[in-house]
Subunit: 355 residues, 2 copies
C-alpha cells in the first residue's frame, strides 16, 4: 500500500487547534482507502521555535522539509510578540517562494448547510476557483526607506513580475479552466490605474488566451471584480490573479460563500521539485485562539486537497462529501462562525465519524 510522508506544522494560535482535527480526518480516510500517512510534526512557530531561537526556521530547513511528500500547515503569526511580516516572511512566504509553490489554489463553494451572507443564492450556485500567483508580484522584498525620521521620509517597494512567473500561473489556470465544464476564465487586473505591471499582466493573459481557444476568457478590474463577487458570484468559474489580488479575492470569495473558516488552500509546486503545502485560508486568529471554537473545516478540506495532489482523489472526495453532509445535517456541532455553538473538536470528530 502507498505510504506518504507528511511534514506537519501546526504553527500558532488556532493553527494548533485545527491541525489535530485535520489529521484525525486524514487518518480516518487513510484507513478506508488503504494508504498510510507517516507524519512528522515540527514546532516552527512564533510560540515555538522562534521563542527559543529568534528565528522562525533552522538554517537547514530546506533539507529538513524538502524530502517530504507534502507539508500540512496550520497558521503562523503571533503579532503581540513577533511582527507579522517577520514571522510570515520567515516561514510561510519563504516556503511558497523557495519551494516554488507558484500556484495558490483556493476553491470557493457555497456548501449545503451553510447560510451565506448573500441572499438569493443556493448551494451549488457559487462554485469557483481562485488561482493566485504565489511567488512574486506585489509580495516582493525589494525596496526601502530614505530620509528617515524627517518630513521628506519616503518609502518605496517594488512589484516585480517576470514572464516566467506570470506565464506559468496563467498556463495552470487556463489548463484548469479547460478541464471544467464551463471552461470560463476571468483574470483580475487593474491596468487602468497600475500602469506598468498590470498592462503587462493583461498582455500575457491575452497571449495565453489565444493558445486556449476553447476557454472563454475575460478580465475584470480588481475593484469591480470584488464588487461582482458580492453581486454576481455565480458568473465565475476560474479566476486567476496576481499575488495580492489573489490574496484579497480568496478571502472575499469565501466570505461570500459563508465564512473564511471553511476555506482551504493548496500551495502547489506543479513541477514537484519540492513539496507542496496545504493550509486553511484563515490565519492564526489570536482573537479566538485558545477557546476551542475555531472552525476546523478549512484545515480538514486542505487535507483533502493534499490527498488530491498526492494522487488519492477518491479519498479527497470522501472528505469533502463528509464535510458537506455534516454541515448540512448536524447543526448541533457547528462552530460559532457557522451560527452554531459547537467546538473545534466536536466538529472535527463529527466529520471523521461521517468519513
Amino acid at each position: 500500500s502507498h505510504r506518504y510522508r507528511i511534514a506537519v506544522i501546526p504553527g500558532d494560535g488556532i493553527g494548533r487547534e485545527v491541525v489535530p482535527e485535520g489529521l484525525r480526518c486524514l487518518r480516518a480516510v487513510a484507513e478506508i482507502h488503504g494508504f498510510e500517512l507517516e507524519t512528522v510534526e515540527f514546532g516552527f512557530a512564533c510560540a515555538g521555535y522562534w521563542v527559543r531561537h529568534g528565528e522562525m526556521l533552522p538554517p537547514d530547513w530546506r533539507e529538513v522539509l524538502g524530502g517530504f511528500d507534502a507539508i500540512f500547515f496550520g497558521a503562523v503569526g503571533w503579532p503581540e510578540a513577533v511582527p507579522d511580516h517577520v514571522s510570515l516572511w520567515g516561514s510561510l512566504l519563504k516556503f511558497r517562494r523557495e519551494f516554488d509553490q507558484y500556484v495558490n489554489l483556493r476553491p470557493v463553494r457555497l456548501l449545503r448547510g451553510v447560510r451565506g451572507p448573500l441572499r438569493d443564492h443556493e448551494p451549488g450556485d457559487i462554485d469557483f476557483l481562485v488561482v493566485r500567483e504565489n511567488t512574486e508580484g506585489e509580495y516582493s522584498s525589494i525596496g526601502g526607506q530614505i530620509f528617515e525620521g524627517t518630513d521628506r521620509e519616503t518609502v518605496v517597494q517594488e512589484t516585480v513580475m517576470t514572464r516566467t512567473g506570470v506565464d506559468r500561473v496563467l498556463r495552470y489556470a487556463f489548463e484548469l479552466a479547460g478541464s471544467r465544464p464551463r471552461k470560463h476564465l476571468t483574470w483580475a487586473t487593474k491596468s487602468n490605474g497600475i500602469s506598468i505591471t498590470m498592462p503587462y499582466w493583461d498582455e500575457r493573459a491575452a497571449a495565453m488566451a489565444e493558445r486556449y481557444p476553447d476557454v472563454v476568457a475575460d478580465k475584470d478590474h480588481i475593484d469591480i471584480l470584488a464588487a461582482k463577487f458580492v453581486l454576481r458570484p455565480q458568473q465565475y468559474d476560474v479566476v486567476v490573479a496576481s499575488n495580492l489580488f489573489g490574496d484579497i479575492l480568496s478571502d472575499l470569495g469565501p466570505a461570500c460563500a459563508g465564512t473564511i473558516g471553511i476555506a482551504p488552500s493548496a500551495n502547489i509546486n506543479p513541477d514537484r521539485t519540492w513539496p507542496s503545502l496545504f493550509e486553511p485560508v484563515h490565519g492564526s486568529a489570536p482573537d479566538i485562539a485558545g477557546r476551542g471554537i475555531a472552525n476546523p473545516v478549512g484545515q480538514i478540506w486542505s487535507g483533502a486537497m493534499m490527498l488530491d495532489h498526492l494522487g488519492e482523489p477518491a479519498a479527497a472526495a470522501r472528505i469533502v462529501a463528509a464535510i458537506e453532509n455534516v454541515l448540512d445535517e448536524r447543526p448541533e456541532v457547528l462552530t460559532p462562525d457557522l451560527g452554531g455553538s459547537g467546538t473545534t473538536a466536536g466538529l472535527g470528530t463529527a466529520i471523521a465519524a461521517e468519513i
Copy 2:
C-alpha cells in the same frame, strides 16, 4: 447671492448620460437655496478631445481648469479606442495628482428603497465612509521593463509613500472620525505580506492615533477587511486606505450596499489650492452606454458632495434626502441595476422634481 463657477466634464460612455441629470438636480436645488451655478462644459474625453488631438487634455489645462470653484466630472474611458491607462493617466489621475486632490472620500450607505445583496441588513445599518489616499502609493508611474520579448522579461513598478502624503490623508480621516458620533476609524493594511510600504503605513497610522485619543482606531488587513465588508459591514465608520486598497474598498462597499450605480465620490484638495473634483464611483461603462439606462444617482449624489464642499450643506442634504425618497417611494422610476425598468432621465427627473 453666491455664485459658483463649475467646470463640467461629462467624459465618455455613460458619463455623458448621467452628468445632465446631475446638473438638472443641481439647478433645481440652486433655485431653492438661492445661489447661482455658472457651468462651463469641456469635451475632455476619448470620444472628444482625444479623437481630434491624440491627447486627453490641452497643454494649458491647469490654467483652463484651475480657476474654477469645482469640477463636476462624469467618467472617462473608451477602451476600444484608447487603452484605459492612457486615458485615465491623461486626465482623471492627472487631476487627482496635479490638483493635489489628496483625499478621495466615498460614502457607503444602505439607503431606504434599495434592496442590497446582503441579507440581515436594514437601511441605516450600513453607513460608513471610505477615505482613500488619492495621489501616491500603488498608483505611481515609476517602473519599466527589461529583457523585453525574451524569457527573462521582467517588469517592475514601484509603490511610493511619503510621510507628507501618508500623514495628511490619515489626519483628514482621524479628524473626520472624530467629528462623527461613533468616532471609530479602521485603517486598511497588508503589513503581513507587503513588507516595506505597509508596515510604514501602520507606523504612521499608529503615531497619528496617539494624537486622537478620542478616536477608537484599529486596523484590518485588506483581505480580511474585504471579507468583513460582506460579513459585518455595520461595524465600520471611517475606513482609511492607500490608493489601491481604497479603490477596491470603495467599489466593494457600495456593492454591499446595493449597487455601484449610486455611489458618489469627492476628490478633495482640502487646502483649496486647486479645485476639487466630484464624480460617481462607477466608470464610463461602455457595455451599457448609449442605452439610457445608466443609474444617475452616483452623479447626482456627487453633486451634493460638491455643494457640501462649496459651503452649501443644506442644499447638499436636500439632494440626498430627495434621492432617498425617490428610491424608497417611486419603484417605477428605478433603473435596471436597482431592479427596476426605468431610464436615466426618468430617475433624474423624478429626483429633481422631489427636490
